[in-house]
Symmetry: C2
Subunit: 207 residues, 2 copies
Amino acid sequence: MERKGILIVVSGYSGVGKGTLMKALTARYDTYALSISATTREPREGEQDGREYFFRTKDEFEELIAKDRLIEYASYCGNYYGTPKDYVEEQLKQGRDVILEIEQQGALKVKAKMPDVLMLFVMPPDAETLVQRLRGRETESEDVIRERLTQAVEESKYVDRYDYMIVNEDLDRAVEELHHLIESQHNRISRNLDFAKQIQQELMDLT
Amino acid sequence: MERKGILIVVSGYSGVGKGTLMKALTARYDTYALSISATTREPREGEQDGREYFFRTKDEFEELIAKDRLIEYASYCGNYYGTPKDYVEEQLKQGRDVILEIEQQGALKVKAKMPDVLMLFVMPPDAETLVQRLRGRETESEDVIRERLTQAVEESKYVDRYDYMIVNEDLDRAVEELHHLIESQHNRISRNLDFAKQIQQELMDLT
């Protein structure tokens, strides 16, 4: 059986630890690829083209839009951000499960365009833990924290658009749960109709 | 978070090793309960009421039907066979995942009545393996084997009504896959809407 990659969208409230979780998951298992976004913003010090982002000019980015080479895109603070199809499709073809770690609006756009996508939402064990994690960053003022919580309340209204949730209480356990969850999606009948057909044909040949 | 049990239907071609797989799964993990069928047929030597079957008189069985206390039932060779609701509901309430190992027609009846049921289909790695396993039983004549294969072809037409498949090539691996698959179903958003609501409320209280 040939293994086809699954496209996965991961969202979750700010501070829930999505980034850490994805890093731990992709470090532990080589069946994953993290999608790399394209952007028109300037590279920051230490950022490399093709690692943090694909850095593109405005003209290049608008050509990607015009040629329908982006799964989704948005403009934010005067710059474009988007998910290039080419990288994702290439990784899927190689059998890797490709993770798009994107915020909710982008996530819902992807879902609308590609209904087969696996939609995951990372949950904190409780809201207090989320606040403590945001405070723990120390870079965020109380105002910013309040803003993020307000945004979380907004996002909480769309949680039912996702397929599965992962509670990020213990990182190691969350990584394992996430991995088993994604692996089991490869067993979906709808992703194995060719195999089912093949067995059917073999059975027919035997009778 | 309170854990609610999941109702699981397991089907698969005759000879695929469902019974062995279920026995190995329930022996390894205590989160499962195998549903016990009710029947009006006579107990065979060594069979115990409440272990192999719930043995009932025809009148008792028809009372179960009349009172809608069966998830599904059928009559076969002049006897009734059915799945009593009480046992299943009690196990689910206790947080156990309840497995109904039933043939396809019964499985599709359960699905129609309880759309939330998790539908699993056990597949052989290939048809030849299935035939070898049927021959390996030695109790079955070539005629019976041919009959079972014909029945398998018939059943293969409805495989797409199931949610997931498990390929039973290596028993130990199939048990682990099955367990992870079922465990991950507890992460379905639709099974955790109360938890999602609770986090939402906590977030609202904090803003």
